[in-house]
């Protein structure tokens, strides 16, 4: 392959500079700062800080509340990822079969994509409002006294539901385009080879969607871990007391409510390592193994 080159060495660096500056200001600098302050114990009133080495980390390791939140985050992530992928796949497969009015149908399904997470959370609040929320009413009608923000399990359920609802359209778009990139003739060949549409889906369609699926798996895990902050914040109404929260929300609560900058920084460093691991996993395993053409 012919490689295009620059006449001088400085031009490419100059062109890269704005992007590098943005990454440096908004990621590297805060990240370095977080790593640094995770080794310090900060005075709550900002009068000074003292070096404590790994104390912030060892404290987290022995903290039962942190362990509880970590477990909840894991469960939350698994549920959100599973249901938003499964629902989106189901909708995409059904939408793919629609011929008449396909465009209107697809646009409606993608619409939720445009809703910002806090707004999604707020809509959730309205839907689960204890005195008149339609979903709370529905729960009541089957004998479930739904108490958002009071009962741990109920709040967690609402959190999962709203997060899934918010993520389904993104997955839907990817799955639909993945389905449409499967050659028509391959599906027709399957139509002649297998009578059952169930078998055709699992033997032919699903494996061919696997690259899309793995990509979305990573995207969804990241979403559930980090991007649900807005949803969580609105649903727990700033009263994290007994309510469920995710690790990211805990960083915020400890750092900005509890003024424990050191402990909060240590938590964010742990999360950074987690993201790094996920990214490495994606690059190493997924992109290399799931490849057909």
């Amino acid at each position: 392959m012919k490689r295009a080159g620059f006449a001088t060495r400085w031009l490419p660096i100059l062109l890269l500079l704005p992007q590098l500056a943005i990454i440096a200001v908004f990621f590297y600098w805060p990240a370095a700062h977080a790593v640094q302050s995770s080794f310090y114990l900060e005075d709550p009133f900002g009068f000074g800080s003292s070096f404590v080495g790994f104390d912030n980390y060892t404290h987290l390791a022995g903290n039962s509340e942190y362990g509880r939140i970590a477990k909840f985050t894991l469960l939350f992530t698994v549920l959100v990822t599973f249901f938003s992928l499964a629902l989106a796949l189901l909708l995409a497969v059904k939408a793919d079969n629609v011929i008449r009015g396909a465009k209107a149908y697809r646009t409606l399904l993608m619409w939720v994509y445009a809703v910002a997470p806090p707004v999604a959370g707020f809509i959730g609040l309205l839907m689960f409002n204890q005195s008149w929320g339609p979903l709370a009413e529905l729960a009541k009608s089957i004998g479930w006294d739904f108490k958002l923000g009071v009962n741990f399990g109920d709040t967690a359920t609402a959190m999962v539901l709203v997060s899934v609802w918010k993520q389904v359209p993104v997955n839907f778009i990817f799955f639909l385009s993945g389905l449409q990139s499967i050659p028509k003739s391959v599906r027709e060949a399957a139509l002649i080879d297998a009578k059952s549409s169930f078998r055709r889906f699992w033997d032919v369609t699903f494996p061919l969607l696997a690259p899309t699926g793995f990509f979305l798996l990573i995207i969804n895990i990241t979403y559930a871990l980090f991007d649900t902050f807005g949803v969580v914040d609105v649903l727990v109404k700033g009263e994290p007391g007994n309510n469920p929260m995710t690790l990211v929300y805990k960083v915020y609560v400890d750092g900005f409510r509890g003024n424990d900058i050191g402990g909060s920084s240590a938590q964010s460093v742990i999360l950074m390592v987690l993201v790094l691991a996920l990214t490495v996993f994606q690059f190493r395993l997924v992109e290399r193994r799931i490849h057909y053409t």
């Binding site: 391959v186 027709e188 002649i192 080879d193 297998a194 061919l208 057909y292």
Partner: protein
């Protein structure tokens, strides 16, 4: 093994476009029928209706003694070879070939034996564990064939299976497919736009144009007795020469002293002659001027004008000709007359 019968099969798309006008024909058990025509003539639609991949708007389709209008493609006892092979990219060659059998509740040991047989027949044995992406075009084509033959269906359907191959491979696969069909004796319907494929492979050819059948016949009939000017110019390379003339007193005057009898009213008429039914003849009646000599190795094509109309003559490689005036004679038995308005043979 089965005969196929189409009774007034018609296809109208939801937007009102009539892709196939009511069409009827029968295919005998073990026959190799080629549907040929230009793109958009409805040949693929017809094949896809037989396969069950398109709904039949009106008409009756039977395979064997069974009406299959509303039978699932998987239950029609057919196998289809697609233009782009349509192999399952995530399955090995072995699984690709065996997939149809697996879904028909065949025992695993039977599947393996049948896959081995098919692979042996198609020289694929060493590739059984490869994925389609690791095969060449010709090998993929063979896998697609393997997937069809392993099921031992009542009917093979081919949808332009060779058009993605290069010329040399296409020639080789043409012979292989024909030989395989002969050996297995399975009724086959083969769609192509390539008239050479149609001529060389078919027991019978069905020529289609704009959704209707122009002619059904053996390659010889189609070639020598075209039913319309469309068939005359579509089949054969170079195509049949078609020239305008006048019919008077029951005869059509071709040139020089030559004329043929015509059982038509006086008036304009089109006469056709295949390029190889014209000879260079120093004592011939018709003067002809050669403009261009096309050298094709095994033979030569002479292009020129007769009565101000284009004419092509096919001569063997032993006949040396250069541009300039010559005299020709026409094999009168080979002349076909057409109605200039309907294009149909008289």
């Amino acid at each position: 093994m089965a005969q196929v019968s189409l009774k007034n099969i018609r296809k109208v798309y939801p937007n009102g476009y009539e892709a196939v006008v009511p069409t009827s024909f029968n295919i005998a058990d073990g026959e190799f029928v080629v549907l040929v025509g230009p793109s958009g003539c409805g040949k693929s639609t017809l094949l896809r209706m037989i396969a069950g991949l398109e709904d039949i708007t009106v008409g009756e389709l039977s395979i064997g003694d069974r009406n299959v209008n509303h039978v699932d493609p998987a239950d029609r006892d057919i196998a289809m070879v697609f233009q782009n092979y349509a192999l399952y990219p995530h399955m090995t060659v072995r699984k690709n070939i065996g997939y149809g059998l697996k879904n028909r509740k065949t025992a695993a040991s039977d599947i393996e034996a049948k896959v081995q047989d098919a692979a042996k027949m198609l020289n694929l044995t060493e590739f059984l564990d490869r994925k389609p992406s690791q095969l060449s075009g010709g090998q993929r084509q063979r896998v697609a064939m393997g997937r069809a033959v392993v099921r031992d269906p009542a009917l093979f359907l081919f949808d332009e299976p060779l058009s993605n191959l290069d010329a040399k491979l296409r020639h080789q696969m043409r012979i292989e497919i024909k030989a395989l069909q002969r050996r297995l004796g399975v009724t086959s319907i083969y769609v192509t736009h390539d008239q050479v494929e149609a001529m060389t492979m078919a027991d019978r050819i069905i020529v289609l144009n704009t959704g209707r059948i122009e002619q059904i016949g053996t390659p010889t009939e189609i070639y020598h007795r075209p039913a319309s000017t469309f068939v005359a110019s579509f089949m054969g390379a170079p195509p049949m020469n078609l020239l305008n003339a006048e019919s008077a007193d029951g005869r059509v005057h071709l040139g020089g002293d030559m004329s043929v009898a015509a059982s038509t009213a006086d008036g304009p008429v089109i006469w056709g002659i295949r390029p190889e039914d014209i000879e260079i003849d120093p004592t011939g009646d018709i003067p002809f001027t050669v403009d261009i000599v096309e050298e094709l190795g095994a033979h030569r094509l002479l292009h020129g004008q007769l009565n101000g109309q284009d004419l092509t003559i096919h001569v063997s490689k032993d006949v040396v000709v250069s541009a300039g005036p010559i005299r020709i004679s026409i094999n009168l038995d080979a002349v076909v007359l057409f109605n200039p308005e309907t294009g149909l043979a008289l």
